[in-house]
C-alpha cells in the first residue's frame, strides 16, 4: 500500500481503546445490541393519545367536502381535525426549507397521492387508525401532472393555484458556469459526446419511519417534542416561526434515530399535527407513520432528467462539460438545501477533472408527486452530479476507444493545482487523485481483470468493469454563503471537564447511526488526552446542547468535528495556564504530551489533565486572572467546504440468458482526509455501497399514469440485502483538509455518491458486445435484457 500517505499509522486493536484516533468499538453499540436504544416510538407518557393521518388516495383533486361526524363518534376518538380547522388558526400551510409553502392538511386541493388531509386523535393507535376509515371525503378528481417533461406544456393542469399569480408548473430556473465559454470549447473540440441520463426518484427508506411525541404543558406554556429529526435546533427555530411559540419554551428532543439519510431533515406535516393535537387536547400525543406513509409522502431523492455533453480532443483531453437538467420537485418544493443553492451542490458536476469550461442550465417543475428532493445520502445533489460526469466520461472513453481508467488519469486535477477553483466556482480545498486511483487499480488487479474480461468475451460470457472517481463537497458551510431559512450553518460545541477528570462534550449535531458518541469522544480525546471512555457525548436535545444546524450533507465531522477539536484546544490552553501554576514554571516552559504537561527538559515534573481538572475545581489559588472550572464553548464557522474523493471499481457478471446482474467485486478507495475511527469509516462506506447497489440495480419510486405511487411498501420498493452485495474491498489514502483543524473531511455519503456510476459503468461495459453505450437505472434484469436487444428505455 505504497500509495497510502503518511499520518495514518498506528491504529490500535479494538480492545486497546486508543486515546484519540484509531479503531475502537462504538460506545453506543451496547445499548443497541441489547435492544436498549430509546427511539421516539419508545416514548410513553401518562395519558398519551395517538394520532393517525388520513391521506389522499388520488394524486390531484379538489376537496369538495369532508364529513368527520362518523369518525368523531367512533370509540376512543378524542378529536378529528381537518385543514379547514387548521386554517382558522392560520396553521393550514407551513414554510418548507426552500422558501416554498406546503400544506399541513389540505384545504383546497390534494396535490399528490398520500398528501395529508385530516387527522384523528384517539386513545390508542388502533382506534385512531380505524376512525380514519370513517372520514368521508368527497374529491373532484383533476388530471394529474406525472411526467415532468409535460409539466410546462401549455395545456398541463395547474398544480399550485394556491400561489398568487401562478399560471404554470414552473418551480425555478438555475444556471451555473459560463455558457459562452463552454460553447466556444465545444465548437473547437475534436469530439463531442452527448448522452441522455435519468436518475430516477428513489427513497431513503430509513428503518425507523418518521414520528413525534408532542407534549404541550398549558400551565407553563412549554412544548416538549420528541421527534425523528436530523436537525433538532433548526426545527426548534422553525417551530417558533411557524407556530408562533416562543423559542425558549420549545424543547426538541431527537433521541436514538433509526437511520436518516436526509429523510429526517424536513419538518413534516405530521410533526405539526402532533403539536396542534397536544395543544388542542391538553395531552401528550404520539404520531408514528407506518411504512407506506413513509414511502409515499416523505422526502424522496433525485428525480433528475439530464442531458450530459462532454467535449474533448481526439487524444483524450477533456475540454468542457455541459448539462441540461429537468428537475422534478413534486407538489411542493421541499428541498432541504442552503437557500442560495436551489439545486444543492449539483454545480460540482465538473467532477475531478481539470477542464476549460462548464455550463449547467436547470429547470425545476412541480408535479403531482410527493415533495422533497434532497435526501438519501445525496450530499446536496452531488450524487446526481457525480453520476452525470462519471457516466459521460465513460461514454467519451467509449467514443475515443480509450481505457476509462486511462482517460480519467489523463484529466485529473493535479496535486499542485489545489486549492483549485472549478469552472463553476467551487474551491476544492485539497486532493491528490492519482495515488487514490492507482491504489484502487492495484487492489482490483485492473490489468488482470481486463485480461479476464477479454477471455470471457471470446467465450460469450458477459463481464464488466466499471470505474467511478468522485470528488465531493461536504461540510456546509461557510455562513457567508450558506444558510437554511436565514440560519447560518455554523455549529456550537461545549466541553466541560469534571473535577475527577471525566468530561462531557455537548454537540449540536445528531447521530442517526453514524457513531457520533464514539467519533466525537475520540476527537476530544486526541486533543486533551482523556480516554474516550471517560468522555460523555451529549446530543439531540435542544435544552442541553448548543445551537447548530444538524447532521446531513456529511457535515458532522467537517463542521462539528472541527468545533469539538477547537473547543478541546481551548480547554487545553486553559489547562496549560493552570499547569504552569501547579508546576511553578512559565507557560512557555511547558510541553504537552497527550494527557499531561511537563516541564521542558524535565519530563519527571508533570501534571496530568486529571490533576489539572481537580485543581481547577479545588481549593487553593489559580494563576491570576484564571476562573475556576475547566470548560469552554465555541461556535465554528467553516472557512470552506471539505472535498473528500475516492476511486471505486466494480466488477459485474451478467447472465446472458436471464440478464441478471451480479456484483462480483467492489473495490472502494476513499480519501476523507484524517481518519478518526477507521472502523466507523468502513461501516459508513459499506452502508453507502449497499445503497449504491440498490439504486443501480433495483430501487425506484415509480408512478402510474394516474399518479398512484407504485412503491408504497417494501414489497414493491426493493432495497438490497446482504445477498445482493459482495464482500466489500476497502482501501484508503489520506489527503488532509488544509483548513480543517484536524484535516478531516466528511465521509458519510461518499459511497452513496460514488457507487451507482461505478456499477452502471460496469454493467454498460459488460454489455459492450451488444453495442450498448448507456442504460438508465434501475438495471433490473428486464431492463438489462431490453438494453441487450438495443431497446434500452428511460425508466420514466
Amino acid at each position: 500500500m505504497t500509495a497510502v500517505h503518511e499520518r495514518v499509522d498506528t491504529f490500535h486493536d479494538n480492545d486497546q481503546k486508543p486515546v484519540g484516533y484509531g479503531r475502537m468499538l462504538r460506545k453506543e453499540d451496547p445499548r443497541f445490541l441489547r435492544g436498549r436504544g430509546r427511539y421516539v416510538d419508545d416514548v410513553q407518557l401518562p395519558g398519551m393519545l395517538h394520532l393517525a393521518i388520513l391521506r389522499s388516495p388520488v394524486a390531484h383533486a379538489r376537496i369538495v367536502g369532508i364529513d368527520t361526524s362518523a369518525a368523531e363518534a367512533s370509540p376512543g376518538v378524542k378529536a378529528v381535525v381537518t385543514g379547514a380547522m387548521l386554517a382558522q388558526q392560520n396553521l393550514a400551510w407551513m414554510p418548507t426549507l426552500s422558501n416554498d409553502v406546503q400544506a399541513v392538511l389540505a384545504t383546497d386541493k390534494v396535490r399528490f397521492q398520500g398528501q395529508e388531509v385530516a387527522f384523528v386523535v384517539a386513545e390508542d393507535r388502533y382506534a385512531a387508525r380505524d376512525a380514519l376509515e370513517l372520514i368521508d371525503v368527497e374529491y373532484d378528481v383533476l388530471d394529474p401532472v406525472i411526467d415532468a417533461r409535460r409539466a410546462l406544456a401549455p395545456d398541463a393542469p395547474l398544480i399550485r393555484d394556491d400561489l398568487d399569480g401562478k399560471t404554470n408548473n414552473h418551480c425555478f430556473d438555475w444556471e451555473t458556469g459560463d455558457e459562452a465559454a463552454t460553447e466556444a470549447v465545444f465548437a473547437r473540440a475534436d469530439v463531442v459526446v452527448s448522452q441522455d441520463l435519468v436518475y430516477p426518484r428513489v427513497h431513503p427508506a430509513p428503518m425507523e419511519t418518521c414520528g413525534a411525541v408532542a407534549d404541550y404543558d398549558s400551565v407553563d406554556g412549554k412544548l416538549r417534542l420528541w421527534s425523528t429529526t436530523q436537525a433538532p435546533h433548526a426545527h426548534r427555530t422553525l417551530y417558533a416561526i411557524v407556530a408562533g411559540l416562543p423559542e425558549h419554551k420549545i424543547q426538541v428532543i431527537s433521541p436514538d434515530i433509526g437511520g436518516g439519510f436526509g429523510n429526517k431533515v424536513p419538518i413534516y406535516p405530521g410533526y405539526v399535527c402532533a403539536i396542534v393535537a397536544s395543544i388542542v387536547t391538553g395531552k401528550p400525543v404520539k404520531w408514528m407513520e407506518d411504512r407506506s406513509e413513509n414511502l409515499i409522502s416523505t422526502g424522496f431523492a433525485r428525480d433528475y432528467i439530464m442531458r450530459g455533453e462532454i467535449a474533448a480532443t481526439r487524444d483524450g483531453r477533456i475540454l468542457g462539460i455541459r448539462t441540461n437538467v429537468l428537475a422534478d420537485h413534486g407538489a411542493f418544493n421541499g428541498t432541504a438545501a442552503p437557500v442560495k443553492y436551489p439545486a444543492g451542490f449539483f454545480g460540482v458536476f465538473t467532477g475531478s477533472y481539470d477542464i476549460e469550461a462548464a455550463y449547467c442550465k436547470m429547470t425545476a417543475v412541480y408535479t403531482n408527486k410527493a415533495p422533497g428532493g434532497v435526501a438519501y445520502a445525496c450530499s446536496f445533489r452531488i450524487t446526481e452530479a457525480v453520476y452525470l460526469v462519471e457516466r459521460i466520461v465513460d461514454c467519451l472513453a467509449d467514443e475515443l476507444g480509450m481505457d476509462p481508467a486511462e482517460l480519467r488519469l489523463k484529466n485529473f486535477i493535479q496535486p499542485e493545482q489545489f486549492p483549485y477553483t472549478t469552472k463553476t466556482g467551487w474551491v476544492y480545498d485539497s486532493g491528490n487523485y492519482e495515488p487514490t486511483m492507482r491504489l484502487a487499480m492495484e487492489m482490483a488487479g485492473y490489468d488482470e481483470l481486463r485480461r479476464e474480461q477479454a477471455e470471457k468475451r471470446a467465450r460469450g460470457e458477459l463481464m464488466g468493469i466499471g470505474i467511478a472517481f468522485f470528488t465531493e463537497a461536504v461540510g456546509a458551510g461557510p455562513r457567508k454563503d450558506m444558510d437554511i431559512l436565514g440560519l447560518g450553518m455554523a455549529d456550537g460545541c461545549e466541553l466541560r471537564v469534571h473535577p475527577t477528570g471525566k468530561a462531557v462534550v455537548r454537540l449540536s449535531v445528531q447521530s442517526q447511526g453514524q457513531g457520533h458518541e464514539t467519533t466525537f469522544a475520540q476527537i476530544v480525546a486526541e486533543e486533551i488526552g482523556i480516554p474516550p471512555a471517560d468522555i460523555e457525548v451529549l446530543h439531540g436535545d435542544t435544552d442541553n446542547t448548543p445551537f447548530g444546524l444538524g447532521t446531513y450533507g456529511s457535515r458532522s465531522t467537517p463542521v462539528s468535528g472541527a468545533a469539538a477539536a477547537l473547543v478541546a484546544r481551548k480547554v487545553r490552553d486553559k489547562a496549560r495556564i493552570i499547569a504552569s501554576g501547579m508546576l511553578e514554571v512559565s507557560v512557555a516552559d511547558l510541553e504537552w504530551e497527550k494527557g499531561a504537561f511537563h516541564v521542558a527538559g524535565d519530563p519527571g515534573r508533570s501534571v496530568t489533565i486529571q490533576d489539572i481538572a481537580l485543581r481547577a475545581h479545588g481549593a487553593g489559588d489559580l494563576p491570576e486572572g484564571i476562573e475556576g472550572g475547566l470548560e469552554a464553548q465555541i461556535c465554528y464557522n467553516p472557512s470552506n467546504l471539505t472535498y473528500p474523493h475516492g476511486a471505486y471499481i466494480c466488477v459485474v457478471d451478467i447472465d446472458p440468458g436471464t440478464a441478471q446482474v451480479t456484483v462480483r467485486r467492489f473495490i472502494a478507495v476513499d480519501d476523507c482526509g484524517t481518519r478518526i475511527n477507521p472502523m466507523i469509516i468502513e461501516g459508513q462506506v459499506h452502508g453507502g455501497l449497499t445503497d449504491g447497489v440498490g439504486m443501480a440495480l433495483m430501487e425506484m419510486i415509480a408512478f402510474d399514469e394516474d399518479g398512484n405511487c407504485l412503491g408504497a411498501s417494501l414489497m414493491d420498493y426493493l432495497i438490497p440485502t446482504s445477498l445482493e452485495v459482495p464482500d466489500w474491498e476497502t482501501g484508503f489514502t489520506v489527503t488532509p483538509s488544509p483548513h480543517h483543524p484536524i484535516g478531516a473531511k466528511g465521509v458519510g455519503e461518499s459511497a452513496t455518491v460514488g457507487s451507482p456510476p461505478a456499477i452502471v459503468n460496469a454493467v454498460i461495459d459488460a454489455l459492450k458486445p451488444f453495442g450498448v453505450r448507456h442504460a438508465d437505472m434501475p438495471l433490473t434484469p428486464s431492463r438489462v435484457w431490453d438494453a441487450m436487444r438495443g431497446q434500452a428505455r428511460p425508466p420514466i
Binding site: 416510538d41 388502533y126 407506518d290 433495483m698 414493491d716 440485502t721 428486464s782 435484457w785
Partner: protein, 290 residues
C-alpha cells in the same frame, strides 16, 4: 407500524376443531399458519377478516414428510425449512430444495408452510409451481372428516382462489413417485425475497435413454401457476437433447400469458419462460441420469 382492522382470534387444538370453527364462522374467518402472506395483507388492509383461526398447534398432526411406495405424502403444515432439509425430498424430488433455497429468507422459511403457500394461490408462488410440476394431488378435509382429493389444476381456480371451501382445510399434498425421475427449479427475481419475475420447475422420467414423461410448471406468467401439457406431449418418447429443450422452451413461451409490471415486461417474461424451461429441463435430465 401498519395497523390491521379489528379481528378476533381463535386457536385450534385439532384439525377437527379447526373445521368446526370454520363451519361456524364461515367466510368471515381465515386460517393462519405461517402468516407471511396473510399478515402483510391484513396490515395493508387488503385483507380484512373478522376471525383468524390459528392452526400452528396442529403441526403434530399436519407437519410431516412421509415416503410411501407410490407417493410421497407431505402434511400441509410442513414448514419451508422442513421441506428444504428433508432427506426424503432430497432423494425423490430435488426440485423442492432448489425452490426452497430461493424462497424468501430463513426467517420466512422457519414459519411459512406448504399448505399456506398453496392456499394463498399467488400466481408467483414457488411451491405451487413445484407441485404443478410434480403433478401433486391435494387432500382437502371438510365437516365430518370427509376428504376429497383434487389435482393442482383443480385446486387453483384463479388468482388467490382455491377449491377449498369456507368450511374445509387443505391437509395433505401427495406426490406420485415414478422411477427414473429427475427434477429441478429455477427462478429469476430482482432481489432475494422478491416475488419471482418468472420461475420454472421441470421434472422428467427416463426409461433407458428416452423420456417417458416430462412436466414443466411455470409461475408468474399467468393467473395461476401453469402446467404445460403441450410440453409433456412434445417430450414424451423423445431422447433428451438441446434441440428438444429449445422446442420445449418455445412452447413455454407460447403457452404463457405474462403481463408487464414493475418486475419486468411481458416480452422479457416470455423470454424467461423459455430460458428457464430449457435450464430446468437440462438439469432435470442430468439428475435423472445420475
Amino acid at each position: 407500524m401498519q395497523v390491521p382492522a379489528p379481528f378476533e382470534y381463535e386457536r385450534a387444538t385439532s384439525v377437527d376443531h379447526a373445521i368446526s370453527l370454520l363451519e361456524r364462522l364461515g367466510g368471515t374467518a381465515r386460517l393462519i399458519a405461517g402468516g407471511h402472506s396473510l399478515l402483510p395483507m391484513m396490515k395493508l388492509r387488503l385483507a380484512n377478516f373478522d376471525y383468524l383461526i390459528d392452526i400452528n398447534d396442529l403441526h403434530g398432526e399436519l407437519g410431516y414428510v412421509e415416503a410411501g411406495p407410490d407417493e410421497v405424502r407431505i402434511g400441509a403444515l410442513t414448514r419451508h425449512r422442513e421441506l428444504l432439509e428433508s432427506p426424503v425430498l432430497a432423494a425423490a424430488f430435488p426440485i423442492f430444495a432448489d425452490a426452497e433455497r430461493v424462497i424468501a429468507d430463513p426467517v420466512v422459511r422457519n414459519r411459512g408452510t406448504l399448505g399456506g403457500s398453496l392456499c394463498q394461490a399467488d400466481p408467483s408462488e414457488d411451491l405451487s409451481a413445484v407441485c404443478t410440476t410434480l403433478d401433486a394431488r391435494c387432500v382437502i378435509r371438510g365437516p365430518g372428516g370427509a376428504e376429497r382429493v383434487v389435482s393442482m389444476e383443480e385446486f387453483h381456480v384463479g388468482p388467490y382462489e382455491t377449491a377449498v371451501a369456507d368450511d374445509e382445510i387443505l391437509v395433505e399434498i401427495r406426490l406420485p413417485v415414478r422411477p427414473g425421475c429427475g427434477s429441478a427449479y429455477a427462478k429469476v427475481e430482482r432481489r432475494a425475497g422478491d416475488w419471482a419475475v418468472v420461475s420454472a420447475g421441470a421434472a422428467v422420467w427416463l426409461d433407458g435413454g428416452a423420456i417417458v414423461d416430462a412436466r414443466v410448471g411455470l409461475a408468474a406468467v399467468g393467473p395461476n401457476t401453469t402446467g404445460i401439457p403441450a410440453i409433456s406431449a412434445a417430450l414424451r418418447g423423445q431422447e433428451p437433447s438441446e434441440s428438444l429443450y429449445e422446442q420445449a422452451g418455445a412452447i413455454a413461451a407460447d403457452s404463457c400469458d405474462p403481463v408487464t409490471d414493475q418486475r419486468g415486461s411481458a416480452d422479457y417474461k416470455r423470454h424467461l419462460a423459455a430460458e428457464l424451461t430449457r435450464r430446468t429441463l437440462r438439469r432435470a435430465v442430468e439428475r435423472a441420469r445420475s
